[in-house]
């Protein structure tokens, strides 16, 4: 067993675009669930709208790449409105069922043959990279004409790969800063108050519905940005945006800590590093007959472990690794 190779493959996930994308989406979910108490199970839908809004704006309408990102965010805001109006006045579990259903509607609309001209149905979209790569500030080749490799050790990237990561981390940094800033503002205090006791805040004359809607929108925009970062390096395929994706984001959020600023980021890194590690180790163990299973079964095993981990976190440490238990008394 080549432990050096396994270490390198695992360390790759610390700065992978997937990690950054999931961290962004989990940050959005932290605003909705951790600080606002909203049970949004449709994060996959927000991410899909971000990714497709970006890709379709570029491919079908020929707009610049940064307009594509804005379109993705606008689609997420509209989606939040459509979801919030019927459900934010109802009990929390209704929002859960409606958001998960709406995310499935989005996925089915993106998969159907009907809008093939825009979405390329089940095959998804690709080849929208030109604009984003043209904006890359890092030189591709050095003075000698050789391709420059940035970084060291397990983290070696071409300039395009570096640009995706830098751009993603900038977006993530802005998102985390915004969450930190608004949660210590009066707006954030009202939102946390709604999470703890809606009626008490309503009796203070605050418009609870409006605050919840704003939280749903802000979280949704972060989710859409996560979708954009997810789409930046390769392609968008509708089969990515199933309910499993939403559940992975939830696992990340609860792992790091739902009502924390940095929890989602740390949760995402831990999640992907463990997933990457298991992805490398389990098939090797299976091939070496240490685990009594085929390599394919070994690859499935890590997803079973995600489910079990989610159950264990919620039962034994619902506040997550970094959370404060008092912040999560609303989960009942």
């Amino acid at each position: 067993m080549d432990w050096g190779q396994i270490f390198n493959n695992t360390a790759y996930w610390v700065f992978s675009p997937e990690t950054i994308a999931y961290a962004l989406a989990a940050t959005g979910l932290a605003v909705q669930f951790g600080f606002g108490g909203l049970l949004n199970f449709g994060m996959a839908g927000f991410m899909a709208l971000g990714a497709y809004g970006y890709a379709i704006s570029i491919l079908s309408f020929g707009w610049p790449w940064w307009v594509g990102i804005l379109v993705g965010c606008a689609a997420a805001v509209v989606f939040a409105l459509i979801l919030g109006i019927p459900t934010l006045r109802l009990r929390a579990d209704y929002l859960a069922i409606v958001t998960i259903a709406a995310a499935e509607i989005v996925r089915l609309l993106l998969t159907t043959q009907l809008f093939d001209a825009f979405t390329n149905s089940a095959d998804g979209l690709g080849g929208y990279h030109a604009g984003f790569r043209a904006a890359n500030p890092f030189p591709k080749t050095g003075a000698d004409g050789e391709q420059i490799v940035y970084g060291f050790g397990p983290w070696q990237w071409t300039s395009d790969q570096l640009w995706v990561r830098v751009f993603g981390i900038i977006l993530l940094g802005i998102a985390v800063y915004l969450v930190w800033a608004i949660m210590r503002s009066p707006w954030g205090r009202v939102l946390k108050g709604i999470r703890e006791d809606e009626d008490a805040v309503r009796s203070l004359g605050k418009n609870v519905f409006s605050y919840k809607m704003q939280a749903l929108m802000i979280g949704g925009v972060f989710g859409a940005l996560g979708g954009v970062v997810f789409a930046l390096p390769s392609a968008v395929v509708p089969a990515t945006y199933t309910t499993s994706l939403t559940f992975f984001i939830w696992t990340i959020l609860l792992l790091g800590g739902a009502a924390t600023v940095f929890g989602p980021v740390v949760g995402s890194v831990i999640f992907w590093v463990i997933m990457g590690f298991l992805d490398n180790v389990l098939p090797v163990l299976a091939q070496a007959d240490i685990l009594p299973m085929t390599a394919q079964q070994a690859a499935t095993l890590r997803f079973i472990l995600v489910g079990v981990a989610l159950m264990l976190i919620v039962i034994f440490r619902p506040q997550g690794i970094f959370g404060n238990k008092r912040e999560l008394t609303f989960v009942k």
Partner: protein, 438 residues
């Protein structure tokens, strides 16, 4: 953009059934589709002259593709697998008074019963099959709109009844414990997998497999409550936490099934039986008849249990007011245990019926209907068992009938959209009591 999609969906919904879309021929035969290793192709001729602009569709195994013949009458349709498909010629695009000549069909190909333009086609030894069609004058036989409607209605009823078996369980669990059980889909898959193991791999006849499935389902329900849910209730976990635990269970469960049966689809014995039992326009296979009869018998039994037996009455009492029920001497934990056993057995049977309806046993088959079950339960009224029954029938029939107007790959969209609309208009559902839900 989202509004655009919704608008387009609405326009398709409004367009009349069977309305042909104007289509253009691809530059090369098959050039308008994704290339695969397998294709059907051929030429359409009438009096030795090629016929251009004929719309052809291929359908089977959930796949559907469409093309148009070019100026030389040539067409080609790529398919994902080497499998059996139904090839349909759109008769509206043929010259007037002309049909595909049934006497000049290639060897081994017959028009499907009741039509003159649909054919069962299959591959030979190679990855391509040439189906040349010759046209001749003749009388068109098509299924009328009413007949189609009746057929879909029966299909929808069948689907709705099997959904009801699952939804009643979800509703009873919600009523007695307050838990929205996201792992219910996996309880369906569990039943289908048990039927696969005993009915296919161990060659036990189906009439004996069904009781085995019920026993295993009951055992699953007992162990879930005894091993997981009761200890968690004792720990005093909140409802949101319990719901997230059920999501973790659902994730773990679906990948456990994939671990054991892999990513493929397996057929249960008798699946895809011919529809040779006829009542007027309704054609059913014996599987459909047995399936519907099973659902109805079980649902009547559950209704009797709820209305007439002591435990059933206790269940409804707990749904109404758990505190009062416990105070009047009902053993709440025991009733909840029975509800879990009942719900899991019903879900296991529903899983077997769903495996026949789809058809096929697959690791994620339960997830595919989970949201329809939730839609049915919400539509009928969360926590009311009879509401779940009505909601399931509406959802099942809505899903099937909507395929008259919208493409089959969007048939679940209608049911899920109905879920959102019902929450806008009547959030307590059809049979739910009006109370403050906020």
């Amino acid at each position: 953009m989202l509004f655009g999609l919704l608008l387009a969906a609405g326009m398709v919904f409004l367009s009349s059934p069977g309305g042909a879309f104007a289509a253009e021929a691809p530059d090369t035969p098959g050039g308008d589709q994704e290339k695969t290793d397998f294709y059907f192709g051929g030429i359409i001729t009438y009096d030795d002259q090629p016929v251009a602009g004929v719309t052809m569709t291929i359908e089977g195994g959930g796949f559907k593709a469409e093309t148009v013949t070019d100026a030389e009458g040539k067409w080609r349709l790529y398919v994902p697998d080497k499998d059996d498909y139904v090839l349909t010629v759109d008769e509206d695009t043929l010259p007037d008074g002309v049909i595909v000549d049934p006497t000049q069909l290639p060897e081994g190909i017959q028009p499907k019963q009741g039509t003159t333009a649909s054919f069962d086609v299959t591959f030979g030894l190679t990855g391509s099959k040439i189906v040349n069609l010759f046209l001749g004058e003749g009388e068109r036989v098509t299924t009328s709109f009413i007949d189609q409607l009746v057929e879909r209605l029966m299909n929808g009823l069948n689907f709705g009844l099997l959904l009801a078996l699952a939804s009643v369980g979800v509703s009873l669990i919600f009523g007695t414990t307050g838990l929205s059980n996201f792992a219910h889909g996996e309880m369906l898959t569990f039943g289908a997998v048990i039927a696969l193991v005993f009915g296919v791999w161990l060659h036990i006849p189906m009439w004996l497999t069904i009781p085995i499935v019920i026993v295993f389902g009951a055992a699953l329900g007992w162990s879930l409550d005894a091993g997981l849910w009761r200890p968690l209730r004792r720990r005093g976990l909140g409802l949101v936490q319990l719901m997230i635990v059920s999501i973790g269970l659902s994730l773990a469960g679906r990948y456990v099934f994939q671990y054991f049966i892999g990513g493929g689809t397996y057929q249960l014995p008798g699946a895809g039986a011919p529809r040779d039992i006829k009542f007027g326009p309704i054609a059913l296979s014996w599987i459909d008849v047995v399936s519907m009869a099973t659902s109805i018998v079980l649902l009547v039994a559950v209704a009797y249990w709820l209305l007439r037996t002591r435990v059933g009455k206790a269940t409804r009492a707990i749904s109404d007011n758990p505190g009062l029920a416990a105070a009047s001497g009902i053993n709440v934990d025991r009733v909840i245990r029975i509800v879990w056993i009942l719900a899991a057995s019903l879900a296991a049977i529903a899983g077997v019926l769903w495996a026949y309806f789809r058809p096929g046993v697959k690791w994620d088959m339960g997830v595919q209907v989970l949201l329809l079950i939730f839609a049915a339960v919400t539509l009928g009224g969360l926590g009311t068992a009879f509401g779940a029954l009505i909601g399931s029938l509406i959802v099942g029939i809505l899903v099937e009938i909507s395929t008259l107007w919208i493409p089959p790959d969007m048939k679940y969209v209608g049911a899920l959209a109905a879920l959102i609309v019902i929450l806008l208009v009547r959030p307590q559902g059809i049979l739910g009591r009006k109370e403050r839900l906020g």
